[in-house]
């Protein structure tokens, strides 16, 4: 970093950065404020900044005001995201091991195969998957989403974990082997401590992508397996719209992702760029 030069214009640039940061955050801040307003205060022009705060929007959203309860959708999203993240780990960890520590031949080719599947658009296989689900009575089944989300996240996870496991120095592994340590011991004592933060970040990113997914969920689920984003699509129509409720719903459903994203901030970019940028 350029700490050595201190220039006066540094202050101006800092202020500019702050202003832009606030500008980008403003819609979210406004959404948060609106979620605590009553419906009549929320829908005013000019906007009411100082209106009384209330939890009515949240009460409405959680269905205590009479509307449909979001709990089944939230539970479905949690089940789908957590299960598929676990399945991704189960498949990606051994693969990453074979691509970084005990390397298969032509390991870069295999890595790039995984990457290329990520570049196949979702719509490329949506119809056959829909027809398959329909013919096997798998429509509106949360476990179908788990399988699809796993395939969506597996390439990212393999890439990320490969790069995290590759950071484990081969010399240490060799030394442990010479000392007579077996594979489980090496994995638990040598590899895991170094790779664990990376594995945690990978899991968070897989969780975020699964939680956010709409197209598969919209096409393949209905009443029973509806996920949180599908529940949100119920707010698309503006007829009889309740602004505070929409804001409360959007915030509550985004909360797990915001938390996971802030926790994995540094690794986020590495995951999103499929490990190409560190």
């Amino acid at each position: 970093m350029s700490a050595t030069i201190v220039k006066r214009k540094g202050l101006g640039l800092g202020v500019t950065a702050w202003l832009l940061g606030i500008l980008f955050f403003l819609p979210i801040a406004w959404m948060a404020l609106t979620s605590f307003h009553s419906e009549s205060d929320a829908a005013t022009n000019p906007p009411s900044f100082g209106a009384a705060l209330t939890l009515d929007g949240y009460r409405e959203f959680f269905g205590t005001g009479g509307g449909a309860s979001p709990w089944p959708a939230l539970v479905n999203s949690t089940v789908a995201s957590v299960s598929s993240t676990l399945l991704v780990l189960l498949l990606a960890l051994p693969a990453a091991y074979a691509l970084s520590i005990n390397r298969v031949r032509k390991w870069t080719d295999v890595l790039f195969f995984f990457l290329s599947t990520k570049m196949l658009p979702v719509v490329a296989g949506l119809l056959p998957i829909y027809l398959f689900a329909k013919n096997t009575d798998m429509l509106d089944n949360i476990w179908l989403l788990v399988i699809l989300y796993t395939s969506m996240n597996l390439p990212i996870a393999v890439w990320m974990m490969q790069s995290f496991l590759a950071e484990v120095p081969v010399a240490i592994i060799e030394a442990a082997r010479v000392d007579g340590a077996r594979l489980p011991t090496i994995l638990a004592r040598v590899v895991a401590p170094i790779a664990l933060p990376g594995i945690a970040a990978t899991s968070l990113i897989c969780f975020i992508f699964s939680w956010n997914e709409l197209l598969f969920a919209r096409v393949l689920t209905g009443v029973v397996a509806e996920t949180a984003p599908v529940f949100l699509t119920g707010f698309i129509t503006s007829q009889g719209l309740f602004l505070a409720k929409v804001c409360a719903a959007s915030l509550v459903i985004s909360l797990p992702v915001l938390a996971a994203g802030f926790a994995a901030q540094d690794k986020l970019v590495q995951g999103l760029s499929l490990g190409a940028v560190k």
Binding site: A17, M31, L120, L126, Q265
Partner: protein, 312 residues
């Protein structure tokens, strides 16, 4: 792809050559990889092959008995039907506009955040937030909370300066979708470019400064060339994600007012119109577009990756 095989294998473990166990060992090395490989082929490649096959059939799900092979008719229809051709154009327009705008904005923000200033961490967190809102929620936020002509924040703020009160989504539908996507994707670009900026060689920058290079000269001749591949990477990954965008189009305009892109059209033609053959042909076209982008993306990723491997 063949180029990648010649990448230096800096850390290949030493292979022992005891004959009888060599084959067994090779399989033991390969085995951990197989579940993931087989899973990916089954779940992503097989459905695509099926899509490819269906794309050559005239097949409306409401009249399954009338299904028959039509060759490339579906493709001809997708490319000649005014609505469908328009959605191809919309996809291109949407992707190019969003990627370019978020890349430029992301670059500005990354350059600002590369400087030291009070509260840099907080600003970084504020900037990342738009990327972390669930896409449907973000689209709802723009549709109702910001764009609404009667009580949206945009018109609310315009009210204070006595400005006009336009109906944003009706007047400029595509721009409305694009603006929301630029807001969501700028942080992504910023993160990648910031990583690029922070991987510059500090000694080289120092040397340039000692030699009396101006900020602009340093940016033009050192930073920009260094960032080139990060810009490419951001553009290509952004394109791959945005070409596939469904959430924003579906939520903000429901594909109306000329904003239907290919993914939305594919969704609509089989989910609502039940035109399986047409939907598949459109899907294959999305894939072809993605492959064109992906070829470049893979090349950039592999050059960055090879550098990484070489360094290790």
């Amino acid at each position: 792809m063949t180029a990648t095989t010649t990448a230096p294998l800096a850390t290949t473990p030493v292979r022992t050559t005891r004959q009888p166990s060599a084959r067994l060992r090779a399989w033991a090395t390969r085995a951990p990889l197989l579940p993931a490989l087989i899973f990916m082929i089954a779940v992503t490649q097989l459905p695509f092959v099926a899509t490819l096959v269906i794309s050559f059939f005239d097949w409306n799900a409401l009249y399954p008995k009338a299904r028959h092979f039509t060759g490339v008719d579906n493709y001809r229809e997708v490319l000649t039907d005014a609505d469908l051709r328009h959605s191809v154009w919309t996809t291109v327009l949407l992707t190019v506009a969003v990627v370019l705008a978020s890349l430029v904005l992301g670059l500005v923000l990354a350059l600002l955040l590369d400087r030291r200033f009070r509260g840099r961490g907080v600003v970084r967190t504020l900037l990342i937030a738009p990327f972390l809102v669930v896409p449907v929620a973000a689209a709802l936020l723009w549709k109702h909370v910001l764009y609404n002509p009667e009580y949206g924040l945009l018109n609310g703020l315009l009210h204070y300066v006595g400005g006009p009160q336009p109906d944003w989504i009706s007047n400029t539908p595509l721009l409305a979708v694009e603006a929301s996507l630029v807001w969501q994707w700028t942080p992504f670009m910023m993160l990648i470019l910031l990583a690029g900026l922070q991987s510059r060689d500090p000694q080289q920058l120092e040397a340039a400064r000692v030699d009396g290079a101006s900020d602009w000269q340093i940016f033009r001749h050192l930073t920009l060339p260094h960032l080139r591949r990060y810009l490419e990477l951001g553009a290509l990954l952004g394109s791959i994600y945005i070409v596939q965008n469904f959430d924003a189009v579906f939520t903000i305009t429901s594909g109306g007012l000329g904003t239907a892109n290919l993914p939305y059209t594919v969704y609509q033609s089989f989910y609502q119109a039940h035109e399986n053959g047409l939907a598949s042909a459109a899907g294959v076209l999305v894939v072809i577009g993605s492959i064109i982008i992906a070829t470049f993306a893979l090349r950039v990723v592999s050059s960055l990756f090879r550098e990484e491997v070489g360094r290790a």
